[in-house]
Amino acid sequence: MVENRPLLTFVQHAVLILGAALFVFPIYLAFVASTHDQVTVARGIPLLPGGEFWNNYSQVLGEGISTAGAPPLSLMLFNSMVMALSITLGKIAISLLSAFAIVYFRFPFRILAFWTIFITLMLPVEVRILPTFEVVASLGMLNSYAGLSIPLIASATATFLFRQFFMTVPDELTEAARIDGAGPMRFFKDILLPLSRTNLAALFVILFIYGWNQYLWPLLVTTDESYYTIVMGIQRMANAGEETPQWHLIMSTAILALLPPVAVIIGMQSLFVRGLVEVEK
């Protein structure tokens, strides 16, 4: 603080607290709605949680909302987890390997390979919806975990991040490893991987959130309920045709859908901030 101005400090805290409250409010209200029964919610939401917590959550987790054609949430949560983890681990694995190849080897077509990877930055799913869908359909990957994750695991940003990091690893380490007779894979496993640990963790946080929150892609490639993910499934419940939306159950679902990524961000805050800043560099 540059100078002491009690009034200003007070105003600042007030603004920040107001801002934080505004941020939490929608979630708080969703939580409140998820602890009441349908009649109470429809009559106007109370401002304090009610006593239907266990009923609502066990209903959505165990049975799902049958009128909206949604499978039990436990299944959708599992699908989301499989998709998010496959995307995250897949992206990290292939990016690590390709960055290693690009930095530590000289081979023909190296620059071409680099640009091929780079171009994925410019082609998000949203701009090539139909043709990508056709490719996945013709490979027989609709309604499968492979179809949900593999098309999304190519990542230029992760490759760049690792490339950038590998460039800062001192040449002396490579020389020392070579003198001791270590081959490239041994060097990769015993020296590069341990050195990249923090970067790996930061990237894991960012990519997990990215993977968990995928919406358009699961919507395209899954028609079979047993492959629905929770983030796309929630929309089916909310738009359940003629039925009155069962808000208390929809809000339970929303809470469950946002809990895992929010827990990851809050639990690994410093890694998240680091990852976000690194990825955008």
Binding site: M1, V2, H13, V15, L16, G19, A20, F23, P26, I27, L29, R43, G44, A93, I94, S98, Y104, F105, T116, I119, M122, P124, E126, V127, R128, I129, L130, P131, E134, V135, I153, A154, T159, M167, D171, T174, R178, I209, N213, Y215, L216, L220, V231, I234, Q235, A238, W247, A254, A257, L258, P261, V262, V264, I266, Q269, F272, L276, V277, E280, K281
Partner: protein, 294 residues
């Protein structure tokens, strides 16, 4: 960047290492993108039986189609609103948090987590708040004399998706603004304070100018977000309606392909979107280069 002095030699290993990523990029990125370009110059009849080459006709029809042009303007208005709203709020909060340095981390924890909420889920949460029959925000506005109904009024629907999209993005902008503010040397602000410049004056003459690279960078990031990552918000709440009021470009490209089955037009729209992404990415890289120089 300077290439490595020490490298390994191997005949096939580098190709094996890079192969998975290249294969996925070609199969799921380059091939579909080239298909989109190819289909954008074709026209198919409704049953997919006959295909003819039509050159630029699909593009010509798009740009003379009032619905498409309307969607274009809707998207531009939408991204301008999302970017200015989320950046404005984030900047105010970041300036406040920057001054109270001791508790800044506590506030950061409270403010960053909406970033983890999926756009579609954010949409559903705000939809619930603004629901005309049971929503608490709609109720509050009713008490203030405004009859909120996003099912009927286009401007209400637009406001709803702007708020839901911006809410999530404030966290992101806040983090970058706070980092930018904390990178400004204390000595500058202290010197200004000694010269009796008040907090507001210091903000306009020192903090904001030094923050301008962050501002430009965030404008691009937010526009990209509003253009391409808000499909979930629209799809889960307004479905482009009422009428065309919230039919943004990415939503239209999806709807024309999967509901309208108009492949040529959808492909042409994809190609236009690609051009927009490429332009935005190019701008982003330019500003990032700049940012490093500062």
């Amino acid at each position: 960047m300077r290439p490595k002095r020490v490298t390994f030699r191997h005949r096939w290993l580098p190709y094996a290492l890079i192969a998975p990523q290249i294969v996925i990029t070609i199969v799921f990125f380059l091939w579909p993108a080239s298909q989109a370009i190819y289909q954008s110059v074709l026209r198919q009849d409704a049953f997919g039986l006959r295909t003819e080459f039509v050159g630029m006709a699909n593009f010509g029809r798009l740009f003379s189609d009032p619905l498409y042009l309307e969607s274009f303007w809707t998207t531009i208005a939408f991204s301008a609103l999302v970017a200015s709203l989320s950046m404005g709020i984030a900047l105010i909060l970041a300036v406040m948090a920057d001054r109270v340095i001791r508790t800044a981390t506590a506030y950061r924890t409270l403010l960053i987590w909406p970033y983890a909420v999926a756009p579609a889920v954010a949409g559903v949460l705000w939809w619930f708040l603004f629901n005309p029959t049971i929503g608490i925000a709609a109720y509050a506005m009713d008490a203030l004399g405004y009859d909120w109904n996003h099912y009927v009024k286009g401007s209400d629907a637009m406001a709803l998706i702007v708020i839901a999209s911006a809410w999530r993005q404030v966290s992101y902008n806040f983090l970058f603004f706070l980092a930018g503010l904390q990178a400004i040397p204390r000595s500058l602000t202290e010197a200004a304070a000694i010269d009796s410049a008040g907090p507001l004056r210091r903000f306009w003459t020192i903090q904001l100018p030094l923050l301008s690279p962050t501002v430009f960078f965030l404008i691009v990031v937010n526009v990209v977000y509003a253009f391409f990552e808000t499909f979930g918000v629209v799809h889960a709440t307004t479905s482009g309606g009422p009428g065309q009021a919230t039919n943004i470009l990415v939503y239209k490209v999806w709807r024309d392909a999967f509901e309208g089955l108009n492949l040529g037009s959808s492909a042409a729209q994809s190609v236009i979107l690609m051009v927009i992404v490429i332009a935005l990415t190019a701008i982003q890289f330019r500003y990032i280069e700049r940012r490093v120089e500062y």
